[in-house]
Amino acid sequence: MAEAVDYKVVGSRPVRPDGADKVTGRAQYGADINLPNMIFGRVLRSTVAHARIKSIDTSAARAIDGVYAVITGADFPQSESGEIGGEGGGDVADVAQNVMARDKVYYHGHAVAAVAAKSQSIAEAALAAIRVEYEKLPVVLDILDAMKEDAPLLNANNFTKGLPEKATRPSNIASVMTLARGDLDEGFAAADIIHESEHRLPMAHQGYIEPHACTATINETGQATVWLATQGHFDTRAQAAKILGRSISDLRFIATEIGGGFGGKTVVYLEPLAILLAEKSGRPVKMVMTREEVFRATGPTSGSIARIKVGAKKDGTITAAKAWIAMEAGAFAGAPVGPAAMAIFAPYTIPNFKVEVFDVLNNKPKVAAYRAPGAPQSMHCMEVALNEIAIRLGMDPIDLRMKNAAEEGTQASYGPKFPVIGFKECLQAAKAHPNWTKPIPAGAGRGFAVGFWFNVGMQSSAEVHINDDGTVRVVEGSPDIGGSRASMCIMAAETLGVPYERVRALVGDTESTGFCNVTGGSRTTFATGMAVIRACEDVIAQCKNRVAATWGIDADQVEWKDGKVVPRPGVNADLKPLSLAEIAAKSARTGGPISGRASLNAQGAGASFACNIVDLAFDRETGKVDVLSFTAIQDAGKAIHPAYVEGQYQGGASQGLGWALNEEYLFNKDGIMENAGFLDYRMPVASDLPMIDTQIIEVFNPTHPFGVRGVGETGIIAPLAACSNAARSALGFIVPDLPLSPPRVLAAIEAQS
């Protein structure tokens, strides 16, 4: 149900307000902050993947001229357990240990000490002078190995959560998430065909171009200021406060421009270290990770193993589905098992199903959120299974999905009934798309798959200040990753009835605006946008009161129309409407500056569905795969700035294609990542990809004033299965695992021949 509203600004494509500074180099990113007397922090990282720390001798490092501070785990307070916000955030005690190891290291690259020195080279020398004595422990890397009863334990206090009975012995399985409905035996007995397969997806990195970076300074009263590249300065401030045992009000976090995050910049790594080093040295401390550190020690997403079984009748009706999925958490619990379990069957009406998802510890970096965390791993196997069923039944794969598609009122696999959703609209658009109906190029294969993501709301605040000339300043606290400042300006302009060019948006720091959760969960345009709209409505209410008082009539005798206060139709028709600029010009006489504000916890984020069509060409001699075309169709509810919505679809598709075709962490037997750099960790570059076609579907979300649904995450999900299904189309057999890298494709071709 798309609501036909004739918006003036919403749906337009103005130039982004931050664009000029970004393309001219004026914009300041995490590493661009420089302060007087600033020194440089570096981290010493473990050289082994699993060991007990017997001793750390920092005396030689401290003796080096120009070294101002050295810290180890002993300098941190004991963190109590407690949840940290953000997908995969996990327990605060775990995050504290991930920031700086205490008695054990759990992966190669785990931080064991940090130094601050007057130059990078002196800091490097200090790291080299620190002596760490390790007692090596057995390393466990493979997920299935880690799940064995006799596997080396990472944490002797880890007892599996989510079991029907309380676990009585420790294991590497942190938790299990189970969802079930109906009778599986009955469902599979009713099926005419059954497909079963197993699929491995690799651990992959978010691949943001900007490495983690921050600069911290602290005064003699303990008030610290930190500039950082982050998806959420309020949430990361709270994490740092807990890890350091400080009051939140002692920390001011300022979000710089950010060069990508994709979920990976929702947690802290450097910030607590920089604050502690700044305090011990008495100087501002800048810390910037190398790319190698980013790969070895910051949030990849979980690798996974998925076993899927799906039964269907000859007419395509799905009768039963069963999935068993194990996901890597890395060193500490927190694989996204909840969303994985809830997403896998969400697009479909399935009477009998069961999904179990396991959160498994192993000696790899602790995973962090990555765009629709958990959904790509779980939905891949289901979408491959449906493709195979369609082939075996001789059905069009879109028709098969349409036959089983969820719609408004369908009891979602994760519990509640769906409100208004746009899945069928996406399927219809895909079926009608020319990229679906055009001939498949010779030697290539075409794949189709579906993506689903919940989207979230959460807490946001905004203020809207009206200048004397009627121009508008929006202040909010959501770091702008995908063009949100432009979207906030559009929504403010539409609500206030002023031109876009008269509105400016600023991302305030933790001391200058109200609380906002992270820019994540595809929530910012939805939730922070809603706060901006409410703050504008606050402004409008004030304007109406002031004008009514000016005119000497009751406030209910005036209305807001096209950016002006006007008398209600039929009464006081002789009064001349007053514009926002005219009202603002007289604000000193009518009560002072006009400012509106809103703080809210946005509920009812509308789910988003996507369909992808991909054509892949396979070189049978080398295994190389070329992307010939890619089509991303997705429900946005209402596209506030369509160009940025399209950009989100294209960005999600690019990352999904990278994960599907080439990206993977490669570890040696000792747990050392062997491709910790962009030369060997092969992300797609512009020349690898065609122009990604997009189509925005708009099925109004009734919980948002303009009908917005989040769009940031859904786009990464379907490319994985779409590529697997394109391989099936081109090669005639399933290549079960990803990535479809040349060695894997070639091996699969040779095995078949």
Partner: protein, 80 residues
Amino acid sequence: MARVCFPENVLPYTAGVREASVVAANYRDLLAALESRYPGIREKLDKASVAIDGLIYQDAFLEPIGRDSEVHFLPRIEGG
């Protein structure tokens, strides 16, 4: 009475009961009624999101519960 569906992780508190019928005017009262019936369940449910008649709330409080409402609890999702 509202129909309340429990997730797997709270079944130990409900002695395996998967659904319950509860009279409550709003979510605050519903939680109180469930805690009274199944002591200890509130702490678990406080960590979950709730869906009331299909609309998912990360942090519900006074949201109205109708006589025919359907209430589901699900893991909190925060995304990336």
